[in-house]
């Protein structure tokens, strides 16, 4: 049997795990695919840094490799926009099916790449781009293809999850927890992509696109990172039976009666969630994603969100799928984007807030504060007032209101003379 030949682009942690697993599992892959699967070449920038890879496979000419006549399938694990985009486009145009783990590229340019793949009759799969080893994109795209997904909420970034877990455990602030994460290798030297939410936002865009059958790019995602989460926020969360998590939230907002059509609201921000919520128990480098669908109800997917081997597992699952399709002489069904829903700005997206205030303990202060909420049309769900000396702490959890109304309320509270300080503001999710 003629083997299917694979071009591997990139040979870092994930790439080298892919290379090893394709070799170790050669017999299984042959049986599962129906033909042997062989790595035909590995494109890297610095061949001398890959002594473990057979020298005959290594090349610096990635473009030459992906367009080689004998290459059937391309695995891209370089990451980042360029040169990954150019290489994937060239591969697709040359009739190769592509497996990618590239969340940034798919979130930015998924529509164009999918169109190119459909035109060329090849596959473009990228299960590894979101939540590592967790089978998530295939379930969204295929298993739930006969259902209406309403909401996807997940912890999709292990670095920030580790940092927030450590803040809760130690009482430390963000800077100390980040320093610890960096030292232990859980955070990269430049942690921006993780801590500022770029990584999670790219994943949210991909989840929303697949889940809602519409094009969502990273630019459509409202993004707030965790660098402004304070030890006080984390302590306040614990006081109300919550824990702080960086959430990626994708919602399909129904049309309202006022002529406003359906839309999607996609956002990444830290939020307090009840400790009884299944996502609250997701610790360290694990990822978990909740999906709410009309007929299926609530589903949860849990597993390792990163790492060489887990990510390689997802890459290889896709590799088997595109290889089987190649053997069958057909491409699989790509995602659809027919719904064409606009992205709803965060200002108009309904959210709930937790607000802690230091106030003067004088009669009427609660009334004044409550008035500020009411004037912005924000309804209060719970208030706790703790007096201490001439001061008091007010802890308020609101009902759901447009985010702009909530922000405006906070701004107004900062101007109230009896409010000495707004000590903690965080959105709240998952409260009934």
């Amino acid at each position: 049997m003629k083997p299917l030949k694979v071009a591997l682009l990139g040979c870092g942690t994930v790439g080298s795990a892919v290379l090893r697993l394709v070799d170790e599992q050669a017999a299984d892959l042959t049986a599962r695919v129906g033909r042997p699967v062989q790595v035909a070449g590995v494109a890297v920038r610095r061949p001398d840094r890959h002594p473990d890879v057979p020298a005959g496979l290594l090349t610096t000419d990635a473009l030459g490799l992906v367009t080689r006549d004998d290459v059937d399938l391309v695995v891209e694990v370089i990451g980042g926009i360029e040169p990954a985009r150019t290489l994937i486009q060239a591969a697709i145009e040359a009739g190769k099916s592509v497996v990618s783990a590239n969340k940034a590229l798919l979130a930015e340019d998924g529509v164009a790449l999918h169109a190119a793949a459909a035109k060329a009759g090849v596959d473009l799969y990228y299960e590894a781009a979101v939540a590592g080893a967790i089978p998530l994109l295939r379930p969204l795209r295929e298993s739930l293809a006969g259902d209406q997904i309403r909401r996807v909420v997940g912890i999709v970034n292990g670095t920030t999850n580790y940092i927030l877990s450590r803040m809760a455990e130690t009482g430390h602030g963000f800077a100390e927890a980040l320093a610890e994460a960096t030292e232990l290798g859980y955070a990269e030297a430049d942690p921006t992509a993780d801590v500022d939410g770029f990584d999670a936002a790219a994943k949210a865009a991909i989840l929303a696109s697949l889940g809602f059958h519409t094009a969502v790019t990273a630019a459509d995602v409202h993004r707030e990172g965790i660098s402004s989460v304070t030890a006080t926020d984390v302590a306040r969360a614990a006081e109300i039976g919550c824990t702080v998590k960086l959430l990626a939230i994708c919602e399909r907002v129904p049309a309202n009666g006022d002529g406003e059509g359906e839309s999607v609201a996609v956002r990444v921000h830290p939020a307090m969630i009840p400790t009884s919520h299944p996502l609250a128990a997701v610790g360290g480098a694990f990822n978990a994603v909740f999906v709410e669908a009309e007929a299926a109800g609530q589903l949860m997917f849990y597993g390792q969100g990163a790492g060489g081997e887990p990510t390689a597992s997802a890459v290889l699952g896709d590799l088997v799928a595109v290889a089987r399709n190649r053997v069958a002489g057909a491409a699989g069904a790509g995602p659809t984007a027919y719904a064409d829903l606009p992205a709803r700005p965060i200002a108009e997206t309904p959210t709930r807030y937790h607000v802690s205030l230091d106030v003067a303990d004088v009669p009427g202060v609660l009334a004044t504060v409550a008035t500020a909420f009411a004037e912005h049309g924000v309804s209060i769900a719970t208030v706790r007032q703790d007096g201490h000396g001439d001061a008091a702490t007010l802890v308020i959890v609101t009902h759901s209101a447009p985010d702009a109304a909530l922000s405006a309320t906070i701004a107004a509270l900062r101007e109230v003379p009896a409010v000495r300080g707004v000590t903690s503001v965080l959105r709240v999710e998952g409260l009934s």
Copy 2:
């Protein structure tokens, strides 16, 4: 566009939900599939009992319906072996792709049905057969196709899970909890399939077949139900920080050095698991399945395991998949069974036991008991001894040993004069 026509076999809770969802989501299904999907007929035994179904669709001639020239796809939600088997075979031979929710049939006859589907070049999908709405079979078959699955452990029967949860909450025995479940509609009038583990065993056979690429039938599954679980078992579990669950456990047992080849061990039985284990928190009618794979590590899938709408969601996901394949003119890749692994008998399968004994509180009784374990080659992990008057309770948790050695130990203990009673014996899973 010419619609794809669907024959629906059965119109109970699941069938009527399928019928409704196909109608309600007509526009979405058309966009996702690329052609409209239309129900062409509904086969039922008693048409007069389905006043909600358009009379023109109803027929009692199921065989005529599935072989009708204009029918492209068949959805079977009758359940049970016959007439489902005959109808599915006829459909496949007539070139129709089939979606089924029939765990009993797939667990008994999956190999033959898959062979028939492969020969006819049609699809046979059955995501709804295991764990209702939870996308599980597609992830096993496709997402993890490039990995080596070692173990699948799940709670896959909602009725028994409800009964065991209630026993833990109320302290009641099995009979009372079953009566309550029956009254509330969580258990069927004849609860045998659920409480005796037949339902879970069929699901375990399907999971093992897909996960290990080998043919496993329900007859290969060691099966124990929950009817012999006592209030004492549940109380003892709580005392050692555990909870009792009915587990479906599928393991791939590696070859050993003694020339014994690789095998699969598949079993369904009640077991104590630590309350800290993620499966312990799965309550009521929910299902959850843990998958352990070489590269992916641990994954968990959670959601509603039964019910009309959740099951219909899974059926519709498969319906979209087979419809897309039909539009593309190709069948999807079926499961592979190349591994051809023998089923390991429960006697040779390593398990761990919890044993509670009422013993005479005399010197040397622990030594006598410990000797009984040692003589059978069973190593003890922990012992707790609580004296009260002239009697004492011994609570023993063993290390892993072949199940036969553990059973033989229990039998031997019953003959020890100082042992007044063996008050609780249950396997233990998930302890480190």
